[in-house]
């Protein structure tokens, strides 16, 4: 009896002791309570107390040491995009914090849920221009969904709970929490409660029944309806509902770059990509459809081209979770706010079963023209040089659409998104809105860690690769089995293409003298090879995929190939060029 009481007292005391913890330990406890088991970061002076706790909690929480803080954000993004969970990145104050900004801006424009935690100088030093002090809250304000500076340990649980709630709810986005060093050291009575609402923030707008019925009426009456879907379908986890919806209504469906992989590539109603380097049919027919149905997309200028000549003949129905997107770029006839899963589910019983065979055939006819004028030479070239497209074709042969493909920014990105095949959602990861060169290598690390059972292939140009090439060190240290394909044309290809087409071939600062990439990879003990001849391509790709470890493949492609089709800046979608 005595022993039992003693044990109880001990447990109670232990319990109480456990609750009285430092701010730094509280940060770890909050992360664990939010289900975080992996984060990316880089230590430094102002965040050392938190790193000290990470050391103690390393069994429960894996910290991946990147080689530059930008890599931490992109890795967190890759992780978030492949899992649908919140990615976490951590950095110290000053340069550590400012190095996060590119990734934060990228996550903001591409709606990626991410929480960034930065250390800050002690509260008493704020504003004194202390060593590694920078106003990261001020700097990050325009590119965060929310940010906050914690100066007392007792604020940590509530603020971090809010951070995760805001990052993942509604239209997801990045949140930055800046924690002063004193707040990391201070101890307080810790208690964690998840955040489920904030009075000034309505995460998901209610679906307006009248708007929904108006949308249904337009859709049911349409003779030539066309859908453009974006990442909203993926973020709303509405892929199944979306597919059921299009199969019932028979509506041809095109995707924006971030909508890629929400619908399998070979689906008969998948009519390809819209936008600047999208497919011929959906761009042309945007200006011929009678009802344009936008689902979880935001009419980016790279999608619409000249707005004054965009879908003027069509009634526009816009489904989105973000009220600020309605009428921002394209004036809508009917706007339905809400989560894509909810709106599609509610609409499904109301829409008529239909098929639009002759209308769909118009897309297929344009496909045939595009194949003849563009795709044939890209995928089945007769000239000597290797094309980027045939690399993708060979990758498709081996992966059968099952891999996660992470692309960087530029010509290779457009080629990847045009030709890579997918039959699983959350499989195309790319920097869409911000166009961040250097995104792919770290993002692929995050993607591989988020989906270790899947093949993850990063496809990168020789320019973007060198912007974050240091993350090879992270791959080496963590043994993340990322497959890296560098499509090397010894140019900043997309800029060069524009210089050729619009600047009279004045190739200002676009030619690259590159190092021996294979040797660099070998320096990090990453096996690899360089392919310069077509006959070696298939076997090299097979060898790369067969590798259990990370693998580096450099493919020397034709130097001055261009990506077509193309809608020149300022032109209308119907002015899309095939050459």
């Amino acid at each position: 009896m005595e022993t039992q009481t003693q044990t109880q007292t001990e447990t109670k005391a232990k319990h109480q002791k456990m609750q009285h913890i430092s701010g730094a330990e509280a940060v770890i406890q909050c992360l664990l309570a939010e289900g975080v088991d992996l984060l990316y970061g880089y230590p430094g002076g102002a965040i050392m107390p938190i790193y000290d706790e990470l050391y103690k909690y390393q069994d429960q929480l894996q910290h991946v040491l990147v080689r530059h803080e930008q890599g931490a954000t992109h890795a967190a993004q890759g992780y978030a995009r492949v899992t649908g969970k919140v990615g976490v990145a951590m950095a110290t104050s000053g340069p550590g914090a400012t190095n996060l900004v590119t990734g934060i801006a990228d996550a903001q424009i591409d709606s990626t849920p991410m929480v960034c935690i930065t250390g800050q100088v002690g509260k008493h030093l704020l504003g004194s221009d202390a060593f590694q002090e920078t106003d990261i809250v001020g700097i990050s304000t325009p590119v965060t969904k929310w940010n906050y500076q914690v100066t007392e340990a007792s604020e940590i649980p509530e603020v971090l709970a809010k951070a995760f709630y805001i990052a993942r709810s509604g239209r997801p986005g990045p949140v930055l929490i800046d924690i002063t060093k004193n707040a990391q050291f201070e101890t307080f009575d810790f208690e964690y409660q998840k955040c489920t609402s904030i009075r000034s923030y309505k995460a998901v707008p209610d679906v307006d029944k009248k708007q929904l019925l108006d949308a249904v009426e337009l859709i049911n009456a349409a003779k030539k309806p066309m859908i453009i879907f974006g990442q909203g379908v993926i973020l709303g986890e509405a892929e199944k509902e979306f597919k059921t919806f299009i199969e019932k209504t028979g509506i041809p469906s095109a995707w924006t770059i971030l909508g890629l992989s929400a619908l399998e590539s070979k689906h008969p109603l998948n009519v390809g990509m819209v936008g600047m380097h999208g497919n011929y049919g959906p761009n042309k027919l945007t200006n011929e459809c009678d009802v344009l149905i936008a689902i979880g997309m935001r009419f980016d200028d790279r999608v619409t081209g000249d707005l004054s000549r965009y879908a003027k003949q069509a009634k526009v129905v816009h489904f989105d979770i973000d009220p600020a997107e309605i009428d921002k770029n394209v004036k809508t006839d009917v706007a339905v706010l809400g989560n894509s899963k909810e709106t599609l589910t509610k609409m499904l019983p109301l829409v008529h079963e239909n098929s639009h065979e002759s209308w769909l055939k118009e897309f297929r006819d344009y496909d045939a023209i595009e194949f003849d004028k563009v795709i044939k030479d890209e995928l089945y070239p007769t000239k000597e040089g290797i094309t980027m497209g045939e690399v993708l074709k060979e990758i498709n042969q081996v992966t059968k659409g099952k891999a996660v493909i992470v692309s960087d920014v530029g010509q290779h990105q457009m080629v990847t998104c045009r030709y890579a095949e997918f039959n699983q959602t959350k499989s195309s990861i790319t920097s869409g809105g911000l166009g961040t060169m250097g995104f792919a290598l770290p993002a692929a690390i995050g993607a591989k860690m988020g989906a270790p059972e899947r093949e993850v292939i990063a496809i990168i140009g020789d320019g973007g690769y060198q912007m974050t090439i240091q993350e090879l060190g992270t791959i080496f240290q963590t043994k993340a089995a990322v497959k890296i394909v560098v499509l090397n044309n010894e140019f900043l290809g997309m800029v060069r293409q524009w210089q050729q087409l619009f600047f009279d071939k004045r190739y200002a600062s676009t030619e690259m003298t590159n190092p021996d990439f294979v040797t660099i990879a070998k320096g990090y003990h990453i096996d690899g090879q360089r392919v310069t001849k077509r006959e070696n391509l298939t076997s090299a790709i097979q060898e790369m995929i067969a590798s259990k470890d990370s693998y580096f493949l450099e493919v020397c492609v034709e130097k001055e190939n261009n990506v077509f089709p193309m809608i020149p800046t300022g032109a209308s979608v119907s002015d899309i060029r095939l050459s």
């Binding site: 325009p142 906050y148 500076q149 805001i166 000034s200 923030y201 973000d322 600020a324 009428d327 921002k328």
Partner: protein, 173 residues
């Protein structure tokens, strides 16, 4: 081209550090100048109200308000034309005391403008005038010749002619 005109943008927010930066960054991003900005507590406890005056098109005003409302700690934002609001500005004029005695005209100016004398000392006196921009501007022009030591005008504050039931809207979140 859509006409540009003056809009009063009212933003109800939580009372948090950094919100001014967040609110003003939305104007900055769109290259829209803020002509005046005042922040104060509102009719609801712990809720602040920004009143921002800016010249833009109605479409821009509508988009700005949506972007403002998108911010987590913004409760509600509105835009109104001048005709839809009742608005005032306050101006303070610091004038050397000797001119009050030497220049009898000043007394007439003060009387005619219905301005108030806030304080008088040996060295200076301070006149306050609340009204529309053209009224405070007129007084400024009138006093300018008489050793005007300091002049300051507040941003616009305004209330709407229509009711704005913020408390009910707050409950709806």
């Amino acid at each position: 081209m859509e006409n540009q005109k003056s809009f009063t943008i009212s933003v109800y927010t939580e009372n948090n550090i950094g919100l001014l930066n967040r609110v003003s960054s939305i104007f900055l991003k769109r290259h829209i100048n803020i002509e005046s900005l005042t922040a104060s507590q509102s009719e609801i406890e712990h809720v602040n109200r920004f009143v921002i005056v800016s010249t833009m098109t109605a479409t821009q005003a509508e988009k700005i308000v949506k972007q403002l409302e998108k911010q987590i700690e913004v409760i509600r934002a509105y835009y109104h034309t001048d005709e839809e609001t009742i608005y005032q500005e306050t101006a303070l004029f610091k004038v050397a005391s000797d001119s009050l005695f030497d220049e009898r005209q000043i007394q007439n100016i003060i009387k005619d403008s219905h301005a108030n004398i806030v304080t008088v000392s040996r060295e200076f006196f301070v006149i306050e005038k609340t009204g529309r921009r053209h009224e405070t501007e007129q007084l400024y022009q009138d006093l300018k010749p008489y050793k005007l030591m300091q002049f300051v005008r507040s941003g616009r504050i305004s209330v709407t002619k229509e009711p704005m039931n913020i408390s009910e809207m707050l409950a709806a979140f």
